[in-house]
């Protein structure tokens, strides 16, 4: 089956920043992304879990974007501006996609 080179960017970010991040992504021309829930984790600022939480302050979400390779740089710039002062982990993976016209 014919596949096409692309990049998958995963941005783990605080839930309170989700809307700001996706707005920035849209502004940078990213046309598609998906938000995955996150249960908990651990990092320099300690351990956390969503269990029993009522507020949004303590949680994170994972925003995944699949983009053509040439679009990674503007995406990372946009993401970085939002993540900069905030907790967040940004990673990029090479991938292949079906239906390249979608990206």
């Amino acid at each position: 089956m014919q596949t096409h080179k692309a990049k998958r960017v995963d941005i783990m970010i605080e839930a309170v920043m989700e809307n700001r991040l996706t707005a920035a992504l849209r502004k940078a021309g990213v046309t598609g992304y998906t938000v995955l829930p996150v249960l908990g984790g651990s990092g320099r600022s300690g351990q956390w879990t969503r269990e029993g939480e009522v507020g949004r302050a303590g949680g994170m979400v994972n925003v995944s974007c699949i983009v053509r390779p040439e679009r990674v740089d503007p995406l990372l710039d946009a993401a970085f501006e939002v993540v900069e002062r905030h907790i967040g982990v940004v990673s990029v993976v090479d991938c292949e996609v079906l239906r390249a016209e979608r990206f």
Binding site: E14, V16, M17, R20, S45, G46, Q47, T49, R50, E51, G52, E53, V54, G55, R56, A57, G58, R85, H86, I87
Partner: protein, 326 residues
């Protein structure tokens, strides 16, 4: 004073407090007991829905007067000014940075709705009947403290905590405020007729739901205390107990000046004494990401909330009764 002790003892052995303690103990013992996030949020939605509606119905019953309007105004002013007091207390009692101190201070100008609910329940048991619009005062006090914290940073801090576009709307249209105020207005519009329709849902099971919610809060607070004990210096701990008393004092004065009933004074004290653990932390993560969340969450949820729940509320009851010659 004997009366206060008796009430305090009674309060300490109410199911509500005991379920909170159960949660804390379970968290410290590292039990895997937990309430799913969706259920915890559901319980919180139920509580906001119920108290907002009841408050509105009570205003429909008793009518609006200037005292209502003045109380709302007074609430907003308190929410703006208490963080300044808190900030200076913190700078004196602890070594927190300007940023951390301002972030913590913001929490103490805002309010904890569960503390408010617990106090209402104690007030009612003690035969008081607080003004129904105190719920609206609670709603009004949620947000101004956040602006106050940002002002403190702008005034004393190095970095700019600019009021990012969109943040103000986000704060004011925060889900709990909208639900509380919305249910209040609907209760007001529909009055006793509306209440008759949904009373079996929002009145009879209320205390039981509150117990479950406090179990959850105990679990979350206990987990926080367990993991972040190290941030709690004696100075900070002292602040977490002193600040509610300072707030309650200011609240008592305000309530008396407004001419509120003893129940109203008690609730004003409680609002001023309580610290936010939902709206303000979320706003601080957005606007002041450099501030350490374990400091403000541990203080608000781990120290001040249990203090108010166990000792604070009986004190506020006793003081409000004494002040009104009760």
């Amino acid at each position: 004073m004997d009366g206060t002790l008796a009430i305090a003892a009674d309060n300490l052995t109410s199911p509500i407090i005991l379920f909170f303690i159960l949660g804390v103990v379970a968290a410290f013992a590292r039990s895997d007991l937990s309430i799913p996030e969706a259920i915890a949020k559901g319980l919180s939605i139920y509580l906001l829905f119920a108290i907002g509606f009841k408050g509105g119905v009570s205003v429909a019953d008793h009518g609006v007067d200037t005292r209502l309007v003045l109380s709302l105004l007074a609430g907003a002013v308190l929410s703006f000014t208490l963080p300044v007091v808190a900030y200076w207390l913190l700078r004196g009692m602890s070594r927190l940075s300007v940023t951390d101190a301002a972030a913590v201070a913001g929490h103490y100008g805002s309010i904890s709705i569960v503390t408010f609910v617990a106090a209402t329940s104690v007030a009612t048991s003690a035969g008081l009947s607080p003004e129904g619009y105190m719920v609206a005062v609670a709603a009004v006090m949620e947000a101004p403290a956040i602006l106050s914290a940002l002002w403190l940073i702008a005034r004393y801090g190095k970095q700019s905590a600019g009021m990012e576009e969109g943040l103000l709307r986000e704060i004011l249209l925060n889900g709990s405020i909208v639900l509380l105020v919305g249910a209040f207005i609907i209760g007001w519009i529909t009055g006793d007729e509306g209440m008759q329709m949904i009373a079996p849902f929002i009145q009879a099971p209320f205390q039981g739901v509150l117990c479950l919610f406090l179990l959850d809060m105990g679990l979350v607070a206990g987990r926080g205390l367990r993991d972040a004990r190290s941030v709690l210096t004696p100075g900070l701990f002292g602040f977490g107990v002193l600040m509610p008393l300072v707030g309650a004092g200011t609240g008592a004065l305000t309530g008396l000046l407004l001419g509120l009933s003893p129940g109203g004074v008690m609730l004003f004290m409680t609002l001023a004494a309580s610290a936010s653990y939902i709206a303000v932390p979320a706003a601080m993560r957005v606007a002041l990401p450099e501030a350490n969340p374990s400091v403000y969450l541990t203080l608000s949820l781990g120290v001040t909330f249990p203090f108010n729940l166990t000792l604070g509320i009986p004190i506020y009851l006793a003081v409000s009764q004494a002040l009104s010659g009760g």
